[in-house]
Every structure is written in C-alpha cells, then in structure tokens.
C-alpha cells in the first residue's frame, strides 16, 4: 500500500534495540531449545544428534519428574491464591489516604526490592527450628513448632511463606487501579445502604475484575518459575524431593545430570503446563462471567 511506504521508519528504529534483543535472547534460544529437545545434546560435546522421541519416552517413565510436577502444582495452587489475596487485600486496605499510610505502603513494597537470594537467606533464619522467630511466635501460643525445612510438607509451606512477601508489583497495580475508581460510585452505593462489605462485593471487586484476572494469570506464570531461588537456597530440592520444583529439576538436568537435551524438553513441558493452567483460569473467568 502506498500509505505504508510513506510512513516514516523512525518508530521501527526506536523499536529495533528491543526487537534485536528479543530475537537474539528469547526467540532464537527458544527455537534452539525446541530443536535440542529431540537430540542428545549435552552442552559439552559439539555434535548433537537427532534422537527422535527418545527424551519423551524417558520423560514418561521418569518418576522424579512426576514428583517435581506435583511439587510445582502444589506450590502454584497454594501460592497464587495467597499472594493474590495478600496483594489485593493490602492494596485495597492501603489505597485510601490515611495518616501514615505511605509508610505502610513502603513496608509492603520493600520485600519486593530485596534480591531473592537475600530474602531466602533471611528465611533460613526465620524458619530455623531452634532460634527462628516463626517457631518462637508459635511457642507463644503453646505450639511446639516445626522443623520447617526438614519435613516435606512444612518445607513446601516454608517456600510459600517466603514468596508471600515479594508481592509489591501486584500490590502496586491494585493500589493504582483502586485509586482510579470513581468515589461518586461509592457515595451512590452508600446512599443505597451498601456497607463496606457490600461495596467490596458489588463495586470494588467487579470493577477491578479485569485487573484481578490479569494479576492471576501473571502470578501463575511467575510462581511456576520464581520458586527456583528459595528451593535452591532453603532446601536444595529436599527433603524427599518435596521442593524439587520444575525449574529446579530443569536446572539440575540441564547443568548437572543429563545435559541440555532433556532439560530442553522439560522446559517445553513447563511452558505447556503454564499454558494449561492459564487456559483453565480463563475458561473459569468466562464461565462465571467475571468480565463483562
């Protein structure tokens, strides 16, 4: 079309650095990854050979993979709702201008800017069965406490607890979205006899629904991946592989046990699982008519 040929190139030039980076750092490796999944590539030898579905057959028979999958799904199922609840709850609570409110907002955001390795080291202390504050808190209510990182279930809970803190981004989005809602609507609702909970149920949540759906999808993707650091620092995948989450398992295979090829296949599986979980979420959103 003639109008297209006349359009200036400038916007594309501005996009170019980003485009090149996406191509080189994401698209190309992703393609290579797809190819490696069907080879015996180890990352050390120079000559990957095509092995057809051998890796896939290995995957199907891999019991550790099933453990890892279960650990990941458990984590997502518990962590995403709790993280959303925390981000939305705190965002809504702290959205209203209150004296001192900004300090609370800073406090909620702060853990997000702490590097996750540092946060994990901090949680090694928090979860320490002898002198950790968490067990001491439990002691206050007469509970003997847990050997957090030594038991499969409590180790998983420990990781969930740690990842309950870096929720600053979701919190910020909720905060901003809530502040954009028209105060008049709340006054109109108050005139109709809508109390705080009625307003939450009939106004705030429906009006924020698009944002909440977005956050849920994003947090699912994120949560399937970010448990790598806590699992490495806190438990190294133990005990009994309870925290051998998919990213950890992928890393172990790619760089410690079997080489790139099997790791590549696992990566693809992780992507498929992310897509599946998100699809289920979006179907639920449509089924329950969360969005208009």
């Amino acid at each position: 079309m003639s109008s297209r040929s006349r359009r200036p190139l400038t916007p594309w030039m501005f996009l170019a650095p980003y485009g090149v980076a996406v191509l080189l750092l994401i698209a190309l490796p992703a393609l290579l990854n797809l190819g490696y999944a069907f080879t015996d590539h180890t990352g050390l030898t120079r000559d990957p050979r095509f092995t057809g579905l051998a890796n896939l057959r290995r995957l199907v028979a891999d019991d550790f993979f099933l453990d890892s999958l279960e650990a990941s799904l458990f984590h997502v199922a518990v962590s995403v709702p709790l993280r959303l609840l925390a981000a939305v709850g705190l965002g809504l609570l702290l959205a209203a201008p209150r004296p001192g409110g900004r300090w609370f907002r800073v406090a909620v955001y702060l853990p997000t800017v702490i590097p996750d390795v540092a946060l994990a080291v901090l949680f090694l202390w928090v979860l320490n069965p002898l002198y950790g504050p968490l067990n001491q808190l439990l002691g206050l209510v007469g509970h003997p406490g847990y050997t957090w990182l030594a038991e499969p279930t409590t180790a998983r809970v420990g990781v969930v607890l740690m990842l309950l803190f870096p929720i600053g981004e979701g919190f910020l989005v909720v905060l901003a979205a809530r502040r954009l809602l028209d105060g008049r609507l709340y006054e109109a609702a108050a005139l109709e006899g809508c109390g705080p909970f009625g307003q939450l149920r009939r106004l705030t949540l429906p009006l924020l629904a698009p944002v909440l759906v977005l956050l849920a999808v994003r947090d699912t993707i994120l949560t399937l991946q970010v448990n790598f650091v806590p699992a490495y620092v806190l438990t190294d995948g133990r005990p009994a592989n309870a925290t051998q989450y998919l990213p950890v398992y992928i890393f172990d295979h790619a760089f410690e046990f079997s080489g790139f090829a099997y790791g590549a296949l696992l990566t693809i599986v992780l992507m498929v699982i992310s897509a599946a979980v998100i699809t289920v979420q979006l179907l639920a959103v449509r089924r329950w008519r969360v969005l208009r």
Binding site: E187, A188, A189, A190, L191, G193, L203, L207, R292
Partner: protein, 345 residues
C-alpha cells in the same frame, strides 16, 4: 398533618473543607412536596448543601431536620433521600437494569417487586428499551435519564438533584425539564434541584434560593426574587443579561450612598429619553435583541428590545428607564432599599 413527608429545615448550617468555608450559617426551609431550586455561582456551596442533606458529609455545626427530627445520627441510606449526582455516577459494570436494581437488591426487595419498580421507572423516563445497555453504550441524555430513573426506583421522600440537566443540549434539556416537572407533579415528592441555568432557575421551582459564597442571599418564588432582588449579589446574578447597576449620581439619577439598578427590559428606546447612549454591540437572539450600549460617562447599559430595531453598532440612541422598575440598593451593605413611594413594595 401535612399530606406528604419530606419537609427539610436547615438551621445555621456551617461546613468548611480545610480552610475553605463552603457554607456559612445557612438557614433554609424546604416545604414538604415543594420543588425548591438552588442557584448560585460555581463554588457557592450548592452541592455541599445536597451532600449534607443526603448525609454524605457531616456539618461542622448547625442542624438538619427532616420532618422535624434531627438527622445528624441517621446514616445516609436511612434518610429516604435519593440523589442524582452532577456527573451521574452510574455503575459502569452494570447494565441499565443492573443500575436500577442495585439499591433494591441491597435492600433485599423481592425480585418481582424490584423488577416491577425498575420497569415502571424506566418506562416513565422512556428508557425501557435501553435496559440491557451498559452506561458506556449510551448518549449523555440517555445516561441522564438512567440516573433519574435510578433515583425514582428508590421511591424516596426527598429527591436531591445536582444539576441533573447540566450536560444536556438545549433541546434535550427542555424535554427532560418537562419530564422532571411531570414527575414532581405526579409524585408530589419534595425535590431540591441545583442549577446554573437561568431559565431552569426561573421555570422549574416553586421557590428559588440564591446562594453566594456559602450564604443564602434570598429565598422566594422565582418571579418575586427576580422582581425584587434582596441585594446587589442577587441582582447581579439573576437575569441574562443581569441587571444594569449604576452608582448613584450616574445616568440613572441622583441617589447619594445608593446603587441604582434597572433590568435590560425596563430600559425603553425613546427619542425623548433622558439617557443618551451609543450602541457598542448587538446580540440578536431571534425573538429579541440585546443592545450593549455605552453612555458618554462610560457607563455600560444592556437593553433588551424587539428583534427588528434596525440599529447597528455605532448608532446613537436615547433610553428611558421605567421609573416603577428602578431598584435601589445601599452601596455600602448591598441591601435593597425600599422606597417611600412604595412602587416596588
């Protein structure tokens, strides 16, 4: 016992937002079943009065009585008032039906009854075929009607209308004004109606209250307020163009310490008139014309006259003020001075 509930009484109501005093010792009475119009310049406290009556804000001092009882402790939803906001405040995530049913659902009105009331209100305002639209799928005028219908559904004893017609074009405004009057006639419910619009102020209300800088300047039937403005502020606010105000000793005659006023329609073109003036501009309005004139001493006078006067900018003319329609105000206090002759008593 009066036929309807809904009498409102404001007693020395004061409200400040930070350092801004929005209302200053406001005393105002709205009779049961009356349509009272509140007018005043922007920022004069009109919306604030409505918000206080609705219970959305609390007064700093003073009392609000509804049917004789102080409502200070009554929460908004128990006050039986419905408010139409200046900007509609429709729920964007709900259809028109959802908007109309919102309050009824909150109050757990039985479904059939709620549907009946919503439909009745929608039909009364001619939006029955829009029930499944969302607010962002409607024109301003349609949204306006939905906002009014939402107030009707409530079946309150008092309607508070904050410039409900402000964002409509002239035609729609005329039609909706008629609807509003019909609603008021049919229901006989108390209405307090805020407006900027001169025509609305004059035509819509049983009585008119003029507000300025947080004070009530005058209350009365619109024609009376127009004919006998209580002070300079009211005189300068009502009427379009407003009253010509000239300090004593000027073209309107000797009157030490007074300011004299004459409405544009009370200045007649008269070759033998006492005031000499030059036409500066002509505003032809179709059914009439406004001549903006200037006297030799620099005084500007607006004159309302017939449409086909044949005058142009630059033309000289002579004006005769109607001696019976001359207004006198104390220059110092701004208060109206009654005349001994008693012509404008």
């Amino acid at each position: 016992m009066s036929a309807h509930p809904g009498a409102i009484r404001l007693e020395t109501l004061t409200k400040a937002y930070g350092s801004v005093t929005a209302l200053h010792d406001v005393d105002l009475e709205v009779r049961a079943g009356e349509l009272l119009t509140l007018v005043g310049p922007s920022g004069s406290g009109k919306s604030t009065i409505l918000r206080l009556v609705a219970g959305l804000d609390r007064p700093d001092s003073g009392r609000i009585l509804v049917d004789g009882t102080d409502v200070a402790q009554v929460p908004p939803h128990r006050r039986a008032v419905a408010m139409v906001f200046q900007d509609y405040a429709l729920y964007p995530h709900l259809t028109v039906r959802g908007n109309l049913l919102f309050g009824l659902r909150v109050r757990r009105v039985p479904r059939a009854e709620a549907d009946r009331r919503a439909r009745a209100a929608a039909e009364r305002l001619g939006i029955a075929d829009l029930l499944d639209r969302y607010p962002d799928q409607m024109s301003g005028g349609q949204r306006q009607r939905v906002a009014l219908a939402r107030a009707l559904v409530r079946e309150p004893t008092v309607y508070l209308l904050d410039e409900p017609l402000a964002s409509l074009d002239a035609q729609l405004r005329f039609a909706t004004r008629a609807d509003l009057l019909a609603v008021h006639r049919d229901l006989g419910t108390t209405m307090v109606h805020v407006t900027h619009d001169q025509a609305e102020a004059m035509t819509l209300g049983d009585r008119l209250a003029v507000l300025d800088a947080g004070r009530v300047r005058q209350v009365g039937p619109p024609q009376q307020v127009y004919d006998e403005p209580a002070d300079l502020v009211v005189a300068g606010f009502l009427g379009s163009p407003p009253m010509n105000l000239v300090p004593g000793g000027g073209v309107l005659g000797e009157a030490p310490g007074l300011t004299l006023g004459v409405r544009p329609e009370d200045l007649a073109l008269d070759p033998d008139g006492p005031i000499e003036a030059t036409v500066e501009a002509v505003e032809a309005l179709g059914s009439e014309a406004i001549l903006l004139t200037r006297c030799p001493d620099g005084t500007r006078l607006a004159v309302r006259t017939g449409p086909r006067h044949g005058l142009r900018a630059g033309a000289g003319l002579r004006l005769r003020p109607d001696p019976h329609r001359l207004h006198r105000f104390d220059t110092e206090t701004g208060q109206r001075r009654r005349r001994a002759e008693g012509v404008d008593e």
